[in-house]
């Protein structure tokens, strides 16, 4: 556990790296980098955002790494390149924060299914495993109960998480990981929970992008880097209105996810 009192007066900019956005970024997940950058800038904290394309070396000295959602083929290619580079592994060893969305979360786990359904080795940075199940693809609004973000410093309350999910696999959290929340509407990990947290590595099925619709999650990640004291309050009026609307829509099943009768039985 590091002291945060000095980290609010960093002499260098917070560095954020978007990994392979052309492979893992089909889903507006690039917005997560924008949200993090602006929430630092608006508070007068310098930020540097780098994009690392596939084939280029992954720096191991950044503060925060973003891994987006993607399609089956590019997901496998991204895994191969990250495994070869080892930069992300070294960064995680040094305590860097990682936010991995959907396919990004799946490849950071121990194992995940490829396009043919065959199980492949993941990067092992998140204690979880993703499997293909004989259930329909989970597509629709995802809403959770109030989320608890467990860090070395303690537990941070994030309020309900809201987003949109779209995935075929289901993710089983391992014994050394925490989940973020329980699912209220939607599918999430597939066992009633949503999200996987192993140390400073956070995985979630939330698109939307996740941090645009969940500013407290964004600030919790930034708090790990600059200390929570540095995170003065911001005008989140626009996002408060959006959250209220989306939470209502999810509860009213305005955009009801497609579910089979088997899912209905399983839930009852």
């Amino acid at each position: 556990m590091t002291s945060s009192s000095t980290s609010t007066h960093r002499d260098s900019a917070v560095t954020i790296v978007s990994l392979y956005p052309e492979l893992l970024g089909t889903y507006g997940d690039g917005g997560n980098a924008l949200v993090l950058s602006r929430r630092l800038e608006w508070r007068g904290i310098a930020v540097e955002h780098l994009t690392v394309d596939a084939g280029a070396p992954v720096p191991d000295s950044a503060d925060l790494y973003l891994v987006g959602g993607g399609e089956d083929g590019p997901q496998v290619q991204a895994t191969r390149e990250l495994e070869r580079s080892q930069g992300l592994h070294r960064a995680v060893d040094k305590g860097a924060v990682v936010l991995a969305i959907c396919a990004g979360m799946q490849i950071l786990g121990h194992r995940f299914p490829d396009a043919s359904g065959a199980s492949r080795d993941g990067l092992g940075l998140l204690d979880c495993e993703t499997v293909r199940v004989d259930r329909p693809r989970a597509v629709g609004e995802l809403l959770t109960t109030s989320a608890q973000f467990t860090t070395a410093r303690g537990v941070v309350d994030l309020g309900p998480l809201t987003g949109f999910e779209n995935h075929a696999g289901r993710t089983v959290p391992g014994p050394t990981s925490h989940v973020l929340a329980s699912v209220e509407v939607g599918e999430g990990n597939g066992n009633g929970s949503e999200g996987v947290v192993t140390g400073n590595v956070i995985g979630t099925y939330l698109h939307g992008p996740a941090l645009a619709r969940n500013p407290r999650l964004a600030d919790a990640l930034l708090g790990l880097i600059v200390g929570p004291e540095a995170l003065t309050s911001l005008d989140d009026h626009d996002v408060d209105v959006l959250r209220a609307e989306r939470i209502h829509a999810a509860r009213e099943h305005e955009l009801a996810p497609r579910r089979s009768w088997r899912d209905v039985l399983r839930r009852s």
Partner: protein
Amino acid sequence: MHFGTGSVIGGRVSLLIDSSLLAKLTANRDVAIVSATNGKTTTTKLLSTALSAERPVVSNWLGANMTPGIVAALAASPANETAVLEVDERWVDSVLRDTNANTVVLLNLSRDQLDRTQEVRKLAERWRQALTATPPRTVIANADDPLVTWAALAAPKVVWIATGQEWTADAAGCPACSGRIDFTDSDWSCSSCDLRRPAIDVSVSNETITIDGREFRSPLALPGRVNRVNAAFALAASSEMGVSLTAAFDALDDITEVAGRYRVADINGTKIRLLLAKNPAGWHEALELLEGPTTPLVIAINARIADGHDPSWLWDVDYERVGSRLVIAIGERRHDLAVRFRYGNINHAVAENLDAALELVRASAEFDPTVPVDVASNYTAFQDHLQRVGGVL
């Protein structure tokens, strides 16, 4: 719009009775298919118009682009009339199989309604299989879209169009081998297999279209580079189908709008121009067409079934290009837009509907009544606005 709905239902009922109806309706026709995620309605209209210079043509260019809508459009026309069919990207295989189309025009594949169509690469694979199973005489294809290129290479003859497509974010992974595709200014190739940009047959510049070694001044009243590209596809296809280029060029002169796109209309004394943009690739083009550097802009986003339920893609659009102008967010997902604009440091407001948005526009210091206010919308929001200004196409 009412016409469209009724016709689709009629088409569905007919298909229930006879599933081979589309094959029968096209048995004696010269058929062209136009498909893409962006530009298929416009290109279908342009190709129909170009061919009309020399022969009667039937088309479904009102946008009913799956088999029932196509059947409905064809049922009312003489059995040997040339057909130009706009086809939903997911219906290309079945429509091609049923119609044995001679000519297939493939414009682009980009992410669009991902919660519905899943993955663009799978679409490219389906197109490739369709062209293998039912080879058309000629494919007119986008040489700057690796997904389209890979699909079209399955066809016996391809006319390649250099579209100068700037939106390449959906094609970074090679459709053939999943390797990385390297893009340079005007070229691309896969870093790990043989797939590369093919040799060009037709090219498009700021003012001209070069086809068969002849340079033509772009004839279009429609704005923007994207429409010159659509015209190039239409001209190449009509030429392959036997219509003289000169006649085809002349025919395109009179088109000023396509199914309401680019229509200028009046709402309570305020001049507006309707723009349609459904996905990041479409917005990339639409933001290039905007009136004036400071003219207020209205953007409308819905997320109904036809739009796709997930507007996360708003974050893939470079809305920062609107500059300092005031942007009013409307539509059912206006709050998603507002959050996107907030994080883009874009000067914005939220309004209940188009009329309320235009009130805000008129109150703005930058409002100039002589310049039309652009109202850019995604699919169902666009239909709502078209109806608001008097509907009918």
